[in-house]
């Protein structure tokens, strides 16, 4: 980069009154070369052309030099605290970095570590168990696959998060899955599954499906009764297991911090996005099945009319 060209371009920039704030197709700030006010007169002589070339070169040098400084952050690409709830990550976007940023690696006190949690404990620091996120990530992706498959087969998923800060997360997760998603944000009433006749009435139990096909627990330790009910009624469970819990209480444990709101929102978001994909797959399959049924019906009708026509004209 030549400093004389830079000085020239800076001088011309100082004289210019307007700088073109161009906005690109995707809303990002563009840095354009032709932001200067063009005189509008067509170039006539060779000197005009030379001057135009030097001006363009000076502008390019200025833009190239200054582009390495300054911020490219806009409101759209800056992360805000509500994004963990309202803009969940896709299972493929969930990375170690995202899990660390949400505090998923921080377990409980080392004295309270469940001995069965040892394989998922990376180490001990500052008196707490550090959870090994190298295990967490594949287990989270596996749980997402399960949710997607269950939803694709028309199964119902219940998200359980019985703390005030998890309430909105489970509600949004259930909303994402439409008619196949349910949530328990307040309290799992004991006997929901084991005492269903009393809870729902015999008519409902006979006509509708009361037992869910999958239950996701964001805080399993206060909901051990619910987990037991699911095991009794043969319902597969997914749970966020912290270092003071036994990973075997649920079918698909996700070793992570159950006390962090961000972590709960991240996991609920990942699983509910996978569930939404499953619901979409199911809708597509239903549409396909309907179309095929209609085609078959049309073919049958055509054959019948043909047969009727043959019979009438022998």
């Amino acid at each position: 980069m030549s400093s004389s060209l830079l000085r020239q371009s800076l001088a011309s920039a100082a004289h210019r009154s307007k700088t073109g704030h161009r906005v690109g197709r995707l809303g990002q700030q563009l840095r354009c070369l032709n932001t200067a006010e063009t005189s509008g007169e067509p170039l006539q002589t060779q000197e005009d052309w030379a001057a135009f070339q030097t001006q363009r070169a000076a502008q390019k040098t200025l833009v190239d030099h200054m582009s390495q400084y300054g911020s490219t952050q806009t409101r759209e690409n800056a992360w805000q605290p509500h994004h963990s709830l309202h803009r969940p990550l896709h299972p493929q976007e969930a990375s170690l970095s995202a899990l660390l940023a949400s505090g998923a690696h921080m377990g409980h006190s080392q004295k309270l570590m469940n001995p069965n949690f040892m394989p998922y404990a990376y180490g001990v620091r500052a008196g707490i168990t550090i959870i090994d996120l190298d295990h967490t990530l594949p287990l989270l992706r596996r749980a997402a696959k399960v949710v997607r498959s269950v939803a694709a087969r028309g199964g119902s998923v219940v998200f359980v998060g019985t703390r005030p800060d998890l309430r909105t997360a489970v509600r949004k997760a259930a909303q994402r899955m439409g008619s196949q998603g349910y949530h328990v944000g307040e309290r799992w009433l004991p006997g929901t599954l084991t005492n269903k006749l009393q809870m729902f009435g015999s008519d409902v139990v006979r006509t509708e499906q009361v037992i869910p096909d999958l239950v996701v627990f964001l805080n399993p330790i206060p909901n051990l009764h619910a987990i037991r009910e699911c095991a009794i009624d043969n319902v597969p469970t997914i749970g966020v297991i912290d270092s003071n819990a036994d990973p075997r209480i649920v079918m698909y444990p996700i070793p992570a911090n159950d006390e962090s709101t961000r972590t709960g929102q991240l996991i609920a978001g990942v699983l509910s996005l996978a569930g939404r994909e499953g619901v979409a797959i199911r809708e597509q399959e239903l549409v396909l099945a309907r179309e095929q049924e209609e085609k078959r019906q049309k073919a049958r009708n055509a054959r019948e009319t043909q047969r009727a026509a043959e019979q009438s004209d022998p």
Binding site: W79, P81, H83, S84, S95, S97, A98, L100, A101, Q110, M113, P115, N116, M118, P119, Y120, A121, Y122, G123, V124, R125, T129, I130, D132, H135, L139, R142, K145, V146, S149, V150, A152, R153, G154, G155, S156, D213, L214, I227, R228, C230, A231, I232, N234, V235, P236, T237, P247, R248, I249, V250, M251, Y252, R262
Partner: protein, 301 residues
């Protein structure tokens, strides 16, 4: 009730299907068979590299055939930087008072592009190094530039102190220049705190109310009825009936028929005037009270 295990729900379901206790496959059955639950990994602490295992544990050559040498607990996570941090904050205790941003983001921050062998001077990472930058620099010197740890620490801290000193001098000079030019600075934190304290002390001041009408409006007025009790004779209800027949309505509080402005409500605080007013009021009240006597306060003829 037989024991139910969460990890064997699909096996139990398959048994039920085989024995026809379940008529049809539940919606989750194929999904769980395609993604079977993983068994719990063997109960052993994670494999750790030398990077974050304390040196006395990493270097110990323990014979795994001896059960007492097997670690059954997760190992501590400790870095070389921890010793450097301990020493740094012993030498610079006030660095701990510097504010640190705890703003959360969606990802953790990437490390600075200048690191490892490329990082030769602390100045390469900016003119305002934090304690953390200095400690990372000392660790880099030790790991990548083969400095012994003590010398790495000394070099890093010396550069840190020079950069801090430069910044302090520049800031102070700029402040003095600004003061000389006459740029108005707002009150300092100390001055702001003093102002708050003064404001709080002012609430202890007793201010005399100047607005008498406001005082009078706030005052809880109560009736002062001076009763002169005389043991009258019992008229067997005859007086009551007489007054009723005559159409004289009972007035049990004759004092409050008319508002009486006393000297207490007025602005002037003349003591003599107040006494005269009081005497006048008392007489007036007595006159009103003696006009009709329902409650047999005074004997009536």
């Amino acid at each position: 009730m037989p024991r139910r295990f969460a990890g064997q729900v699909h096996k139990q379901a398959s048994r039920f299907l085989r024995s026809n206790l379940l008529k049809e496959e539940p919606a989750w059955y194929q999904a769980v068979l395609e993604n079977p639950p993983l068994p719990l990994p063997p109960r052993a602490p994670a494999n750790r590299s030398r990077y974050d295992v304390p040196r006395h544990i990493a270097s110990s050559s323990a014979d795994p055939t001896i059960s007492s040498s097997i670690s059954r607990r997760p190992l501590p996570v400790s870095y070389l930087e921890d010793t450097l941090r301990r020493q740094f904050f012993k030498d610079h205790p006030f660095e701990a008072f510097r504010p640190v941003s705890l703003v959360e983001a969606g990802r953790i921050q990437d490390e600075h592009p200048i690191r490892g062998k490329q990082w030769k001077r602390l100045r390469q990472r900016g003119i305002n190094p934090s304690a953390e930058d200095t400690i990372r620099y000392a660790a880099t010197l030790h790991e990548h530039h083969k400095y012994p740890l003590t010398q790495a620490y000394s070099a890093a801290v010396a550069q840190f102190r020079s950069l801090r000193a430069e910044r302090d001098i520049a800031t102070n000079t700029a402040r003095l220049e600004a003061e000389v030019i006459g740029i108005p600075f707002g009150p300092t934190l100390v001055e702001q705190t003093f102002a708050l304290e003064e404001k709080q002390l002012d609430t202890w001041e007793k201010k005399d109310e100047l607005d008498a009408s406001a005082l009078a409006a706030r005052k809880r007025w109560k009736a002062i009825i001076e009763k002169e009790y005389d043991t009258g004779t019992w008229s067997r209800g005859k007086q009551y009936v007489r007054l009723w027949k005559e159409g004289v309505r009972p007035d049990y509080m004759p004092v409050l028929k008319e508002p009486v402005i006393t000297s207490a409500g007025l602005e002037t605080n003349d003591a003599q005037k107040a006494a005269d007013d009081l005497a006048r009021e008392k007489m007036h009240r007595q006159q009103v009270a003696s006009s009709v006597d329902f409650m047999n306060i005074k004997q009536n003829a």
